[in-house]
Amino acid sequence: MPVTWLFLIVLAIALAGYFAGRARVASASGGDRPHSLPNYYGWNVALKALVPALLVLAVWLVAQPFVVSTTVSAQLGEGAVPEGSTIGLVMSDVRRVADGLDAAVEQGLMSASEASGLDAATSNVRDRLAEAGAAIGGSVSPEVLAAAQTWRAMTATGTLMMTAVVLALAIGGAAWGWLQTSAEFRARNSVEGAIRIILLGAACIAILTTLGIVLSLIGNTIQFFRIYPASEFFGSLTWSPSFGGGSQLGIWPLLWGTLYISFIALLVAVPIGLFAAVYLSEYAGPKMRAWAKPLLEVLAGIPTIVYGLFALLTVGPLLLSVFGRDGLGWMQAGTAVMTAGLVMGIMLIPFVSSLSDDIINAVPQSLRDGSYGLGATKSETIKQVILPAALPGIVGAVLLAASRAIGETMIVVLGAGAAARLSLNPFDAMTTVTAKIVSQLTGDADFASPEALVAFALGMTLFVMTLGLNVFALYIVRKYREQYD
C-alpha cells in the first residue's frame, strides 16, 4: 500500500512541522510577544507541508492511469486488436495481465525478474497467473504480454516519481514554513488565508461536479439528437420504444405522467405539511413540539424504496378495493397515478412542513405582538399577518418540494405502473420520465441505439426543469428574506 504509506508520511511531516514551528517561534521570540499565537505558527508550517503535497498526490493518482493507458494503447496499435474485438477489450486484458503479474510477485509465486522476463511463447502465462488468482479469458498473446510489461514498468516509475515529488513537496513546504517562522511573521493572517483557499476549493468542487454532470449529459444528449429528430422527441405524443428499431420516442406521455403524479403529490403534501407547520410553530406547546417535530421528520428519513413498497403493498390494494372492480370500477390495477401520487405526497409532508416551520418561525415576534396588541386572536394573526408575511418563503418551499416530486423515481417505479399514456383518469397506470430513464438504461440494450440514448435526453429535460424550478424557488425565498433585514 505505497499510497497509504505516502499519505501517512506526509501527515507525519506535517505533524512534526507543526511542533517544529511552535517550538521555533517560542525560542525565536526571546521574550517578545510574537505577532500570533504559537499554534498559528505550527499550523502555518503544517498547512504548507500538507496542502500542496496532498493536492499533487490526488491529481497524480487521477492522471497516472490515463497517461499510462494512452501510451500503452498507442504502443499496441491497430494490429494487436483481433477480429471482432475492440481496443477497449484488449486494454482490459492488458490491465488484467499486469495486475496478475503484480499479484504473483506479491504472493511470492514469481520473482520480480522472472515476472518482467516472462516469455509468452515458452511459458503458459495464463496458468501461472491463474495460480495468483488472476483470471484471464484466453491465452495471452505476445503483444498483450509486452503491453502489460510496459504498463507495469510505467506504473512503477510513475509511482516512484510520485512518491519522490510528493515527499519533496511536503518537506520543502515544511521547510519554507519553518524558515518563515519568526516573531514578526504574521502567521495568523497566513493561516487564515490558507483556510479561505481550502474553503474556496471545497465550494469549487461542488460547483464543478454539477458542471461535470451537465457536460456528461450533454455529450450523450447531442448524440441522441443526431440519430433521432428533436422534433419527434418534443412533438410526438406516443412513447413506444422497440429495440428492433422504428420506435416512437415522444416525451409528452412521460412528462404528463410526471406532472400529474407530482401535482397529486403536492395536493396531498402542501395542505397537510403547511397545516402541520402552523400547528407546530404557533399552537403546539414546547413539550408537544419536542416530540412531534422529530417524529414528523422521521418520515423524511425513510428511504424512498420503502415508500415504494408501501405504495405497492398497502396503498395500491387499498385504493383498488374502493375504486376497483369491486367498488366504483374506475381502477384496473393497484398501480396508478393516484397510488404513486398519494405516497409521494406523504413522503413530501415533512419536507414541506419543516421548511414552512422554519419560515414561519422566521416571521418576527414583533409582528405577532403587534397583531395581538390590536386585539386579534391567534387564528386571525396567523391568517392575516403571519401567513402573508411567510407566503413567499412558503411558495419557495412548495417549489422545492415540486422539484423533488418531479425527480422521484422509486415510488413511481413501484406505484405508478409502466404504461406511458396520456390520460386524465388518476386511477390509470402511467409512468414518468425518471421511471423510463431507469427502464431504458437497464437491461442489455445496445448503448449506441436511440432507445438507450433517449435516457440522456430525458435526464437533460428533467435536469433543466428542476433546475428552473429550484432557481425560481431560491429567487423567491431570497426576495422574501430581504423584507425584514
Binding site: G285, P286, P364, S366, L367, R368, D369, G370, S371, Y372, G373, L374, G375, A376, T377, E380, Q384, V385, P388, A389, Q483
Partner: protein, 276 residues
C-alpha cells in the same frame, strides 16, 4: 370595585390627590397588589397604582426593573407568554380585567399598545391601519373604513406624509414614520388606553420629537402610559411618573415633584444618575 374608596384606603396617594387638580380627573386603571412571576422569578412585587384618564403616565427605572412587564399586564399581553403568571387585581373603569369572563382579545382592542421597535405588518399603509377595524368589524362599508383610516392617520400625525401612497407597503416608510403608523394603527381600534413600550428608543431625535408631540396630543382623548429609559422624555411628555426598581414601585406622583423633589432616596439616586 369603587375607585374612590381605594384611593382613600391607600395612604400613599393621599397627599398628592388632595392638593392638585388630579382628584377631579377620572381614575382609569386601578392596580392592587399586583405580582408577576416568570417561572420562579418574581418580576413584579406588590405594585399598586392608579392611572388617570386623559393623562400621560411615565414608567421609569433601570433596565430589568419590571416596568415593561407591568405595562404588559395592563392589556394581558403577558398571557401570550406561557411561563408568566399574574396575581393581584387590575381593573379598568372598575372592571377586573383578570376576571375569568373577560376575553383578553377584546381587552386588547380597548387597551392599545405601541411597541419598542416599529412593527408595521408587511402590508400596505392602508391595510396596516385598517387591520384592527376590520377584525373588530368597526366599519360597515368601504367608505366608513376609509374614514376610519384617514382619521387614525391624522391622529397619528402622519396623514400628510402618506395620503398619496396609502397602498405602498408600510415597511417602506422611515423609522419615525413607521412608529407613527403603528400609533395610528393602535388608535384606529378606538382604544381607551394607549400603552407605549419605549416607543422612541429606535428613533432618531427628530422622529422622537415628532412622536413626543403626538403623545401630548393623544392625551386629550386617551389615558397614555409610556415606558421610557429617557428621563428627559418622561419629564417632557408625562404628567405623572412612576419609578420602578427591582420589581417594586418605589415612588409614584406628579412628574414635576418626582424630578425636583423625590421622596424616596432610591428615586433621587436614579434621577441623579447614581443607580441605573
Amino acid at each position: 370595585m369603587d375607585a374612590t374608596n381605594i384611593k382613600r384606603d391607600d395612604p400613599m396617594y393621599d397627599a398628592p390627590l388632595r392638593k392638585t387638580e388630579l382628584d377631579v380627573q377620572q381614575n382609569k386603571i386601578a392596580a392592587r397588589d399586583v405580582q408577576v412571576y416568570y417561572g420562579d422569578t418574581h418580576a413584579i412585587k406588590d405594585v399598586s397604582v392608579d392611572i388617570l384618564d386623559k393623562t400621560v403616565t411615565a414608567f421609569i427605572g433601570p433596565s430589568g426593573c419590571g416596568k415593561s412587564t407591568f405595562l404588559r399586564t395592563l392589556n394581558r399581553m403577558n398571557d401570550t407568554i406561557d411561563i408568566c403568571r399574574v396575581e393581584g387585581q387590575i381593573s379598568i373603569d372598575g372592571d377586573d380585567i383578570y376576571d375569568k369572563r373577560v376575553d383578553p382579545v377584546q381587552l386588547r382592542a380597548k387597551v392599545g399598545m405601541v411597541f419598542q421597535k416599529p412593527n408595521p405588518f408587511p402590508k400596505s399603509i392602508y391595510d396596516n391601519v385598517a387591520y384592527g377595524p376590520r377584525i373588530h368589524g368597526l366599519a360597515r362599508n368601504k367608505a366608513e373604513l376609509d374614514e376610519i383610516v384617514e382619521k387614525a392617520l391624522r391622529r397619528g400625525a402622519i396623514w400628510n406624509e402618506v395620503k398619496d401612497r396609502l397602498h405602498a407597503p408600510g415597511t417602506g416608510l422611515s423609522g419615525g414614520q413607521q412608529q407613527r403608523l403603528c400609533i395610528a394603527r393602535a388608535v384606529a381600534t378606538e382604544p381607551e388606553v394607549l400603552l407605549m413600550d419605549e416607543p422612541c428608543s429606535a428613533l432618531d431625535p427628530i422622529a422622537t420629537a415628532q412622536v413626543e408631540e403626538l403623545i401630548d396630543e393623544l392625551r386629550q382623548d386617551y389615558s397614555v402610559v409610556i415606558v421610557t429609559h429617557s428621563m428627559q422624555q418622561a419629564a417632557r411628555v408625562s404628567q405623572k411618573t412612576a419609578f420602578f426598581h427591582l420589581g417594586n414601585l418605589v415612588e409614584y406622583g406628579e412628574t414635576s415633584q418626582i424630578f425636583t423633589n423625590p421622596v424616596d432616596p432610591r428615586t433621587e439616586s436614579y434621577i441623579t444618575g447614581r443607580i441605573g
